[in-house]
Amino acid sequence: METAPKPGKDVPPKKDKLQTKRKKLRRYWEEEAVPTTAGASPGPPRNKKNRELRPQRPKNAHILKKSRISKKPQVPKKLREWKNPESQRSLSGAQDPFPGPAPVPVEVVQKFCRIDKSRKLPHSKAKTRSRLEVAEAEEEETSIKAARSELLLAEEPGFLEGEDGEDTAKICQADIVEAVDIASAAKHFDLNLRQFGPYRLNYSRTGRHLAFGGRRGHVAALDWVTKKLMCEINVMEAVQDIRFLHSEALLAVAQNRWLHIYDNQGIELHCIRRCDRVTRLEFLPFHFLLATASETGFLTYLDVSVGKIVAALNARAGRLSVMSQNPYNAVIHLGHSNGTVSLWSPAMKEPLAKILCHRGGVRAVAVDSTGTYMATSGLDHQLKIFDLRGTYQPLSTRTLPHGAGHLAFSQRGLLVAGMGDVVNIWAGQGKASPPSLEQPYLTHRLSGPVHGLQFCPFEDVLGVGHTGGITSMLVPGAGEPNFDGLESNPYRSRKQRQEWEVKALLEKVPAELICLDPRALAEVDVISLEQGKKEQIERLGYDPQAKAPFQPKPKQKGRSSTASLVKRKRKVMDEEHRDKVRQSLQQQHHKEAKEAKAKPTGARPSALDRFVR
């Protein structure tokens, strides 16, 4: 982040000289050794390419007016400075070295931007366009404000750095536990449960509670931070998967035959016989949908708020045992034995997309929290990361010695793969970048083969279920440091939880709205708009918005002869015609240029090319 002080252009040169003589003013967090841009050139900075946004210099005057309102105490002062540089000094003679509001880095503002300015509407009315411009300006201002509010975030993310040349993957858990504070060290624990065989596990959405179910029927839920056990039962049946519903009070367990729902006391509330032979569970928290993948090849969506089955989709791909959800758009990703991953929404009978990922079957799928990257691993021992933003192309590939059986993404974009009894974690540059598969960030060997993996939300903890029980690993930098109290609050009280539950139920998103782009609802439906216009023209018999043909106004004093009227009319008509021709020519050029680009460049031009259409 560039935080160099930027004195305004209006500072007179005399004062600059004085300033250079005195010791350069510095923000307290700046290091002395780093020469800032202003330090290098004491004069007012002339470069226009500074990557910072200041609300005082918007594009049009309209925003200027608004920002003036919002920054009442600062801007009038600034305006005064403009006229009279002498008044910059306060009564005591001290000069404000950082005039105006603090600059905001562009990247942070970009994060909060919601309107895609590159996308333009086709021929919209002037009124609509001006309204959109206002909305865009408002949006820009709010994103600047939101970026400013980042200053208030209290926590910093964790990290792990080796000494020069040291490989972080060689650092074992014991070393980390020894190095960190007691509270964090207590988050590393092993539950030794050898009797009930490989465990699946799930953290609640707040990251406070942990539920796990063993193959041999052992189901337990606990507050893993305080290690307080909520319930422990044996369902006397094989447990395939386990999942918390919207809060920690309800628990869905996929058992050998049917799907059961328990409360946090271990009392069976429901047995859902329409979901039979379930292998994997996923819960979509904003839609209150429990997605189940079954051995019979059905993907079933159960609305847990009303207890109805919303959709039962036949994937027509045999046994389904690989499933994950895209937290960004609530699309379910299913991995199939023919190497494809299919994307499903309850609104469609057919998959939204099918991606051929591997030569063998797909063993595991995971999607990161921004919905940008999908990691898959297959029977061909490969681990691939795909871009989900329209292209569905692999970004990076790595062949692993045994292949990964389980994958999971953390909130900050770390990727974990469980391979046999080894767990490998890869990290990227940040939240928005894919994990680089070159060098693992951390590795850990467990006492048995891995059967379930999940990063704990809002904590630097990875939960691993394996044949020997449950292991809670420390992974610095995995969790989102700053939670939102109204969304999912790990420290919420019972009252807060109840209130949140009511609010969440009130704004339950209908299942039909699940699609690949969750913002599609906010965009203009151009197709139906044009269809409606066509229908209107048909109904009325004429186009009400059509431009009336030009009718020259009669002029005074004999200049309004028929000949001159016709001449003027012809002039306008010709101009319009020329415009049309110009436009069509431009379009043609554009098309040709596109075609030329699209042609294969590698091969030499051949005589037969002329027959290519």
């Binding site: 975030l153 929290s369 904590e459 440091p481 939102d484 209908p510 609802l521």
Partner: protein, 445 residues
């Protein structure tokens, strides 16, 4: 090895004592708030539904008149005081907060045709069928005194309407001609006519205070300048206009309530095309009054309903009716823009909320914030079909509902015929006349 783990101190996130407020740390990162648009949409849908649930506009009915209420007037200085004149010549002054009648005056013999208050609020004027103009004091007579007008002017013809100047001691009456009176004199300062006809209403412009508008039964609307002896210009419409009302914020805009079920908003400088044609009523529109904000107006109709129209929309946003309300003759929007009063044939004055689902009384800051947020959401998603359907849905009495259907069929038939005529004649020979231009017959200067 350098390592840092996320380690939160619970003291920073949990309140210290039970008396404290809960701490709610916020993070506005979009990845922590997924499904922003669908969730907002659902919220908007809920807000719209709640708005319909809480839409209870009827507040009170003031009864006491012994004949149909013919005219209403607001007190210029006092929000709670309302004056009304009835068809039996009785004038009553009401207190809206207590919802009772303060004073009753037998003002005229026959109808009270018009009533208006002086701009200072100390007195008011009435005109009646007995060819008199009377000025009354706003405060009642002392104990034992008789109820008597301050002044009485005997005219030659029947006066059908009256309006007072907004700043000076001048008032205007209408009947067979428009008369401008000085309060101190018993003869009109000037009287203006254009043709021979009975003029039904006259209104002073609240901004350009020397301008007047009137409407007559020979289908025209005439504009006058008080400083000249002759009228300015007039526009002739298809059918006669019952009343006009000037926009209190835009000096040149006025709205005319017409017999052909429509209201027309005109710009004074371009009378040949109305700015907007407001249609929704299914019978003659009898009265119209602007909100003090100038953004909306309310109209009273013979179809036993009142409707609220935005100035720039051709369809009404609200319709009010009750089982007992008969033909609504007069309507007024109160000066705080929150309430609407209407006087109807069956002798009652009704008080309505201007915004049907508004909560009355003091709002807490959280209530206010929630209200503002919901308002913005409704605005943002108003064009979505599902939300639009809920927001527009109104229950109507069967008579109005069936008439709307009938008129829709008639309009459709007329339009079809028009389209067929255009289709089967030489291109360009049948001109396409827009709905706005259809109703204006001529403009005379």
């Amino acid at each position: 090895m350098k390592v840092k783990m996320l380690s939160r101190n619970p003291d920073n996130y949990v309140r210290e004592t039970k008396l404290d407020l809960q701490r709610v740390p916020r993070n506005y990162d979009p990845t922590l708030h997924p499904f922003e648009v669908p969730r907002e949409y659902v919220r908007a849908l809920n807000a719209t539904k709640l708005e319909r649930v809480f839409a209870k506009p009827f507040l009170a009915s003031l009864d006491g008149h012994r004949d149909g209420v013919n005219c209403l007037a607001k007190h210029p200085k006092n929000l709670a005081t309302v004056l009304s004149g009835a068809c039996d010549g009785e004038v009553r002054i009401w207190n809206l907060t207590q919802r009772n009648c303060i004073r009753t005056i037998q003002a005229h013999e026959g109808f009270v045709r018009g009533i208006c208050t002086r701009f200072c609020g100390t007195s008011f004027f009435t005109v009646g069928d007995d060819k008199t103009v009377k000025q009354w004091k706003m405060d009642g007579p002392g104990y034992g005194d008789e109820e008597e007008p301050l002044h009485t002017i005997l005219g030659k013809t029947v006066y059908t309407g009256i309006d007072h100047h907004w700043k000076e001691a001048v008032f205007a009456t209408c009947g067979q001609q428009v008369d401008i009176w000085d309060e101190q004199r018993t003869n009109p300062v000037c009287s203006m006519t254009w043709g021979f006809d009975s003029i039904s209403s006259v209104k002073f412009n609240p901004i350009e205070t020397f301008l007047l508008g009137s409407c007559a039964s020979d289908r025209n609307i005439v504009l006058y300048d008080m400083r000249q002896a002759t009228p300015l210009k007039k526009v002739i419409l298809d059918m006669r206009t019952n009343t006009i009302c000037w926009n209190p914020m835009e000096a040149f805009i006025f709205t005319a309530a017409n017999e052909d079920y429509n209201l027309y908003t005109f710009d004074m400088s371009a009378l040949d095309t109305p700015v907007m044609v407001h249609m929704d009523h299914v019978s003659a529109v009898l009265d119209v009054d602007y909100s003090p904000t100038g953004k909306e107006f309310v109209s009273a109709s013979f179809d036993k309903s009142i409707r609220i129209f935005p100035v720039d929309k051709s369809r009404s946003r609200e319709v009010y009716h009750t089982k007992r309300m008969q033909h609504v003759i007069c309507v007024k929007w109160t000066s705080d823009s929150k309430y609407i009063m209407c006087g109807s044939d069956e002798m009652n004055i009704r008080l309505w909320k201007a915004n049907a689902s508004e909560k009355l009384g003091v709002l807490t800051s959280r209530e206010k914030a929630a209200k503002d947020y919901n308002q913005k959401l409704k605005e943002k998603f108003q064009h979505y079909p599902h939300i639009k359907r809920i927001a527009r849905h109104r229950h109507l009495p069967k008579s109005i509902y069936s008439q709307i259907q009938e008129q829709r069929i008639m309009k459709e038939a007329r339009r079809r015929k028009e389209v067929n005529r255009i289709k089967h004649s030489k291109p360009g020979s049948v001109p396409i006349v827009s709905e706005k231009k259809k109703h204006v017959v001529a403009v005379v200067k």
